[in-house]
């Protein structure tokens, strides 16, 4: 085995020969392999029903693979639950808890003294533009704000690897655009590793370092070589448009 050196090549997540099937005859994944390096933003795109969410459930440990290995931070631990931060498709904020209490939920579950951490949570709330609504309940927030609260809750798990399952899927295009520039601006200082599910090609190219295209039978990898820090305006640049066209062609071939 070759020893890998340097922060950028530390494997945060590596999946090898993963096979999984709900029914034995129709496997969703057949021997797929992928990895995510520390500090990377990687997207998974694929048509609905291609098993994106199932992939996430396997990584989080909610499901166990039939065959293959899932290593988090280089370790293949038996129970993966509680090892990565997971943000589901729906925001799943608890309606009876304030923004502050919702964000503090992972700390409570990890039996940390959440009272002691309140100054730290407040700092995060300010950074996320949520300081004014810390006492508000989820039903009093806009859709974009709710997603931000859910994202912050995922960050508060303290895990380095975050799995985000279509976090902006339910937002209108204007709000989505705002969330993109907000996230791109924040990305540098977040120091997290993200695996991101989406079916929005533009979003995938704009946010990611690499894209995995999850097809019927294969997994294709695409590098996005756009420099960081990025600005949402780059979607109008010819380089971006070319990339998008290329990606669309790949998806067409896939189906």
């Amino acid at each position: 085995m070759k020893e890998e050196i340097g922060l950028s090549s530390t494997k945060m997540l590596s999946i090898e020969n993963l096979t999984y099937a709900f029914e034995e005859k129709r496997p969703i994944f057949q021997k797929i392999s992928m990895n995510v390096n520390e500090g990377e933003f990687v997207s998974v795109i694929g048509a609905s029903g291609s098993g994106k969410s199932t992939l996430f459930k396997l990584i989080t440990g909610l499901l166990e693979p039939d065959k293959g290995e899932i290593k988090i931070n280089g370790e293949n631990v038996g129970n993966r639950l509680g090892r990565v931060g997971y943000m589901p498709q729906q925001n799943l904020l608890l309606p009876w808890r304030t923004v502050l209490d919702n964000v503090a939920l992972p700390l409570e579950i990890m039996k940390e003294n959440s009272q002691k951490k309140i100054p730290e949570i407040r700092e995060w709330l300010t950074r996320f533009g949520l300081a004014d609504v810390e006492k508000a309940y989820p039903d009093e927030l806009s859709g974009g704000m709710r997603q931000r609260v859910a994202f912050l809750r995922t960050i508060m798990t303290g895990k380095k690897l975050l799995l985000l399952d279509e976090p902006f899927g339910a937002l209108d295009s204007l709000t989505k655009r705002n969330m993109h520039s907000w996230l791109l601006g924040l990305w540098g200082e977040l120091q997290k590793t993200v695996l991101f599910i989406t079916h929005d090609l533009e979003e995938a190219i704009l946010l990611s370092d690499r894209i995995y295209l999850l097809g019927r039978e294969s997994l294709k990898e695409i590098h996005v070589s756009l420099p960081r820090p990025r600005n949402p305006e780059i979607i109008y640049q010819s380089e971006f448009v070319t990339m998008r066209r290329e990606l669309e062609r790949l998806i067409q071939n896939e189906n």
């Binding site: 459930k57 989080t60 440990g61 909610l62 639950l81 509680g82 090892r83 990565v84 931060g85 997971y86 589901p88 729906q90 799943l92 608890l94 309606p95 009876w96 808890r97 939920l105 992972p106 409570e108 579950i109 990890m110 309940y137 989820p138 039903d139 798990t157």
Partner: protein
């Protein structure tokens, strides 16, 4: 103030109007002699009987029945929650207890009550036993179903945060089950009044059920109706009390 009155009028105005019409019609029919008073006493006679027997009713019989209802409800509440939660956590317990619970509801209460008299004698406990047998069922079912309904997605989210079963129960399932549990409690508390009354009918020396039975033996329909009125009033007050608690508890849970 004016707006409140308007709202109150909108909520209860029609009911009040209907009540006044029915009671007046009833009074008129009886006073006219269309129905003999020993079969259906007039409302005014019932009120007169209530006033006449007020000391006996309010100082002896009402407190006795209320005591049975409250003790029966307390035990049903504790037992019902415990069984409901136990069935939620243990598949085996659910498989054993659920059929028994359903069977317990198919037993005609009147038929089994004499057995309770045999076991517990004429003490307060024979009435409480009948009360519990009726009142525990809605609490168990509403607790168990409420806990089961508590969102699979939420459960999975908390699992990925490393939560154990108890934490999931505590942070998600119990709060989400509260609306269902409280509906069960509202039904249960009304059943408690029914249970205590049945218990008293079968053998007691005090209580509104006992009083109404004795009076019906004497063909004093007005006194029977007076006792029924008090029993129903008790049920309404208890129901409203639970509704009030419900409103407080669910203030934030019912957001969304």
């Amino acid at each position: 103030m004016k707006i409140k009155w308007k709202k109150w009028q909108g909520d209860y105005g029609l009911f009040l109007l209907a009540t006044i019409l029915i009671v007046s019609g009833w009074e008129w029919v009886v006073k006219k002699g269309l129905i003999p008073a020993f079969i259906l006493p007039s409302p005014s006679e019932i009120v007169a009987s209530l006033i006449e027997n007020r000391q006996l009713l309010l100082e002896n019989h009402l407190p006795a029945t209320l005591q049975e209802v409250l003790i029966g409800f307390g035990i049903s509440l504790a037992g019902g929650l415990l069984i409901g939660i136990g069935m939620h956590f243990s598949r085996a317990l659910e498989k054993v207890l659920y059929p028994f619970l359903v069977i317990s509801q198919t037993i005609p209460m009147i038929a089994i009550s004499p057995i309770f008299i045999m076991w517990f004698g004429y003490s307060i406990w024979s009435k409480i036993a009948v009360t519990i047998l009726i009142a525990i069922f809605p609490i168990v079912v509403s607790t168990y179903d409420g806990l089961k309904a508590g969102g699979k997605e939420y459960r999975e989210l908390l699992l990925t945060m490393g939560a154990n079963r108890w934490t999931i129960f505590n942070k998600i399932q119990l709060p989400m089950a509260l609306p269902s549990i409280l509906s069960g409690l509202k039904m249960s508390v009304v059943y408690c009044v029914v249970g205590a009354t049945i218990g008293e009918w079968l053998g007691a020396s005090v209580g509104l059920g006992y009083f109404s039975r004795r009076m019906s033996g004497n063909l004093q329909a007005d006194a029977v109706f007076a006792a029924i009125f008090l029993l129903s009033f008790m049920g309404i007050v208890l129901f409203l009390l639970i509704s009030l608690i419900e409103k407080q508890l669910l203030k934030n849970i019912n957001r969304n």
